[in-house]
């Protein structure tokens, strides 16, 4: 099994993994999740059976780290004293929509982020989440529906 050098994964998919995490957990936690994602990936990399969907594999790990971060945040009783610097500028949508995305249930959030932030096709969304394509479509649909209901925003599908 000839896997490409790990550095190639970092160079090719680093930005996507980072974007996925910013959309999933917000800019404050994204950097920590990013680091944890790549360490976890490096740990299991040599035992990977196939190099056919490395991007999907990395995003799956990132999705898991994002869920861990959400859980950890839920356990944190006291909010941070000072709001951290936000290092990105939302272009068309307001900050609170991104908060709403991050507040979605894990499956819906992952599906919405994969489909609409990383522009993945449904088969790729399904592969990354380890669910059927129909389930992936359903998660995206339910996520968007919920965002529309709660946020009243016309999200382009």
């Amino acid at each position: 099994m000839d896997l490409p050098p790990f550095q190639t994964l970092l160079d090719h998919h680093g930005r996507d993994v980072h974007r996925f995490l910013i959309a999933s957990v917000g800019p404050t936690d994204a950097d920590d999740c990013y680091q944890e994602t790549w360490i976890a990936a490096l740990r299991t990399y040599p035992s990977l059976q196939s190099a056919s969907n490395l991007r999907g594999w990395l995003l799956t790990i990132a999705a898991r780290k994002a869920i861990d971060a959400h859980r950890a945040r839920g356990r944190r009783a006291v909010p941070m004293a000072e709001p951290p610097e936000v290092s990105f500028t939302p272009r068309e949508l307001a900050d609170d929509l991104w908060s709403a995305v991050r507040a979605l249930p894990a499956k819906q959030r992952a599906a919405v982020v994969l489909r609409h932030v990383l522009d993945a096709e449904y088969p790729a969304v399904a592969a990354t989440m380890g669910v059927s394509e129909a389930a992936a479509r359903r998660s995206v649909h339910e996520g968007l529906k919920r965002l529309r209901e709660e946020h009243g925003h016309a999200w382009t599908v």
């Binding site: 974007r19 360490i39 990105f88 939302p90 522009d119």
Partner: protein, 205 residues
């Protein structure tokens, strides 16, 4: 064409953070590498936990990709660009190129050297002192088979650690330069650094 981030109005993220240090601290990198400019062209230096495993002349397009793909296939896919790990070899090579170092003291990892005759030839080559040269026949003889000077030539051609294992110090007995993986200009240049040949005149040869 509009990118995915524009389509969904995603936050415009900055560059991902540099996580090289964290990956190094994890202890999970099997092969670290760095790309260095030198008087003999661009070099890729790679090391394992055991020592320097590869010195690669980067010639032509995609040379870096080809070099690290080779390392992934032959050593381990856990190949990461981690310049700090190569500080020792970088410093010693820099001193060598500046004429301030005659011997290398860095640890070497010989795993990319074929065992048997090739290994013996390169072991003998590693003993040739700075500023001296020997013939292919002499190296073959030192490695245990005087008549195998052609095989010694191909063993030297497969040297994964050029410069550090000084295969450039092996010449034809008639005085010809013989061959060199990185090209004869590099061989001349290295011999000039050691005072064996005069400094090449720019623009000639």
């Amino acid at each position: 064409m509009r990118g995915p981030s524009e389509r969904a109005g995603a936050p415009r993220a900055g560059e991902p953070p540099d996580i090289t240090d964290a990956l190094m601290r994890s202890g999970l990198i099997d092969v670290s590498y760095v790309i260095e400019d030198s008087p003999v062209g661009r070099l890729l230096l790679a090391a394992t936990d055991h020592g320097l495993v590869r010195v690669h002349y980067l010639i032509g397009e995609d040379a870096v990709d080809r070099a690290i793909e080779g390392l992934a296939a032959k050593v381990s896919p856990r190949v990461v660009r981690a310049p700090l790990r190569l500080d020792g070899p970088r410093r010693e090579l820099e001193e060598f190129f500046a004429g301030r170092r005659r011997e290398f003291e860095i640890a070497l990892d010989p795993r990319l050297i074929r065992p048997g005759f090739t290994r013996r030839v390169l072991e003998q080559t590693a003993r040739i002192p700075f500023g001296t040269t020997v013939s292919y026949r002499t190296v073959a003889s030192l490695a245990g088979n005087e008549r195998a000077f052609r095989a010694a030539g191909s063993a030297l051609g497969s040297n994964p650690l050029p410069i550090v294992v000084p295969c450039h110090r092996v010449l034809h007995s008639g005085g010809g330069l013989g061959g060199y993986t990185g090209g004869l200009d590099i061989k001349r240049r290295l011999l000039a650094i050691e005072g064996v040949l005069p400094e090449p005149v720019p623009g000639i040869g």
